[in-house]
């Protein structure tokens, strides 16, 4: 418990005494928000999930695509 408290205090004081670090953390959080809440959700869906739910359906889709690309 004492060790956990020490670790907590270490991080708490570290974050509290940051100067430049606060700006950097703000940039990191904004960046992560853009990446995961905007880009991932709206622009980067899992493409294969839209083609089937099970691994077998996905595998079948891949084979169909491959065959198509050989012939086209």
């Amino acid at each position: 418990m004492n060790v956990l408290k020490k670790i907590w205090r270490f991080y708490y004081q570290g974050f509290k005494s940051m100067t430049l670090g606060k700006t950097l953390w703000a940039i990191i959080l904004i960046k992560l928000f853009i990446m995961f809440a905007i880009l991932k959700v709206f622009f980067f869906p899992n493409f294969l999930s839209s083609k089937g739910d099970s691994p077998i359906e996905k595998a079948d889709y891949i084979v169909e695509e491959m065959e198509k690309r050989v012939n086209n």
Partner: protein, 509 residues
């Protein structure tokens, strides 16, 4: 389809190159900081603590802005490159997962002690945390480079026709492949050069401005010899990498050298200019003009034998030459036929399985297995599709080698002047050269990746999957939209980094 492949590649290249602005400085400057802090630990000289803290701050800015930008590449795998992700996800996913779990957490834990722990933990503990952060960052790079190396030289796997996935059956073959080992050391030691160039360049700028010159000169005294070590190791491992390219990716080597017609006792092109590709292919002109060659060097460096035959682009297309293992090379057309057989056999195997026809299943499986080595060739429309962008590969390679080697001279001169106590602060031209060597180091580093990645086109996985088969069937407009979003986002983030970085540098030590 062509437009889609082009934009998907452009988006991936943009993201990877942006990500690569941060990685080299983290890996290179990290080691320099470790050395500086070790000196502080041993000498107890407060000046070294001040120096370490200054460089650590710049390290932190770079780390913070760069962190997680690599994850955007993984978003793209799932959306733009879903065929590829499915086909090799079992192999490619393993090193990336290990990287995420092990290296990133190791890095993230000890980086907190590095920044928060100066007055809270012992000097020894702090120094250990610094070195473990450097170790974590390098380990992180190791797993990514193993994944990349596997794409250049697929090994340690077998193809499962039921799941349509390549499945890893020998982890150590993947992790310790000769391409991976050379790539890791070549990449990491080249990052040391970038780190040294940044340290030397920023220190020189501080000397020019008359700010903390003594501390800046102490920094150069560490960074310049470290840069020499970095560049010598980079050259050594670069030779190892090129040797592996000669064995495993002959078309890439031919493009790097502008070698259209193979020859024994092949020379290395030290300097030269390429004629237009189409004219060379139509036999209207010679491939090179104004070239200066090093006799026998390409045969020797590629195969450790001055009499070795090095195949050119036309030889690889036509086949028929004897390879190093004694077999006769197939023509690209023959490989395309075999690749088509393999792909169609896979499709027929799946159909036979669905119909419960075991005879046809076995028959098609045998065809697939017999031709799987050329699977990717089946997607190509024209035999010339296997030729990468020769001029980009050729010039990027020369840029990397010529300007990369120039760093040896710069670092050697600075080391000599530093240790002989020659007052180099008087030589403004030298100091400004050091400042401008920072962007040059980045350009050299990026051109190394251009050689590696453009040179291996059209393959996303060597011989097994070209980019045209790897790309998802999404609309090219959606890829163009995200490309533009990334351009804006990356530009804003880069401006943010540079402005914070410049502000800190101006403050000095």
């Amino acid at each position: 389809m062509e437009e889609l492949v082009l934009w998907s590649r452009a988006q991936f290249a943009l993201t990877a190159m942006y990500h690569w602005l941060f990685v080299p400085l983290t890996l290179g400057l990290g080691v320099i900081i470790g050395i500086m802090e070790t000196i502080y630990y041993r000498t107890k000289d407060e000046a070294w603590k001040k120096i370490t803290k200054f460089w650590m701050k710049l390290f932190g800015i770079n780390f913070a802005i760069g962190v997680a930008t690599g994850l955007i590449l993984e978003f793209q795998f799932g959306t733009n490159w879903s065929n590829y992700s499915w086909f090799v996800g079992d192999i490619f996913g393993a090193p990336l997962a290990i990287e995420g779990i092990m290296a990133f957490f190791l890095e993230a834990t000890f980086i907190a002690i590095m920044f928060f722990g100066w007055e809270k933990v012992s000097k020894g503990m702090h120094l250990t945390a610094t070195w473990l952060t450097v170790f974590g960052a390098s380990t992180s790079a190791l797993w990514i480079l193993i994944a990349n190396a596997w794409m250049q030289y697929p090994i340690g796997m077998s193809f499962n026709p039921d799941t349509v996935r390549n499945e890893m059956n020998d982890f150590w073959a993947v992790a310790l492949s000769p391409i991976a080992i050379n790539k890791f050391f070549h990449t990491v030691t080249s990052c040391w050069v970038v780190g040294a160039a940044a340290c030397v360049g920023i220190s020189s700028w501080l000397i020019i401005k008359g700010k903390d010159s003594d501390l800046a000169k102490k920094s150069i005294k560490i960074a310049a010899p470290f840069g020499i070590l970095g560049i010598l190791l980079t050259i050594y491992n670069g030779d190892g990498s090129a040797y592996q390219v000669a064995q495993k990716q002959p078309m890439k080597l031919a493009a790097m050298e502008g070698l259209y017609n193979g020859q024994t006792q092949a020379p290395l092109v030290a300097i030269g200019f390429l004629n237009p590709h189409e004219k060379i292919m139509n036999n209207e002109v010679e491939p090179l003009k104004y070239n200066v060659n090093i006799p026998y060097a390409l045969s020797f460096l590629g195969f450790r034998d001055i009499n070795a035959f090095v195949p050119g682009i036309n030889d690889i297309l036509k086949g028929g030459y004897t390879q190093r293992d004694g077999t006769i090379a197939l023509s690209t057309k023959e490989k395309m036929e075999r690749g088509k057989l393999a792909i169609l056999a896979l499709s027929d195997y799946k159909k036979a399985k669905a119909d419960g026809n075991t005879y046809m299943q076995d028959k098609n499986l045998k065809i697939l297995e017999a031709n799987y080595d050329n699977f990717g060739y089946g997607f190509l429309k024209d035999e010339k599709d296997i030729i990468p962008n020769v001029s980009l590969t050729f010039y990027a390679f020369r840029f990397m080698v010529i300007f990369g080697s120039a760093f040896l001279g710069l670092f050697a001169l600075l080391s000599y002047m530093s240790f002989k106590n020659i007052p180099y602060e008087k030589y403004k031209l030298l100091l400004w050269s050091c400042v401008f060597s920072i962007p040059l180091a980045y350009m050299v580093s990026q051109s190394g990746w251009i050689v590696a990645e453009v040179g291996r086109q059209p393959w996303v996985i060597q011989d097994l999957m070209p980019t045209s088969a790897a790309v998802s069937a999404v609309s090219s407009n959606s890829v163009i939209t995200t490309f533009i979003i990334f351009c804006v986002l990356f530009t804003v983030m880069l401006i943010a980094e540079l402005s914070i970085m410049f502000k800190q540098i101006k403050k000095g030590f």
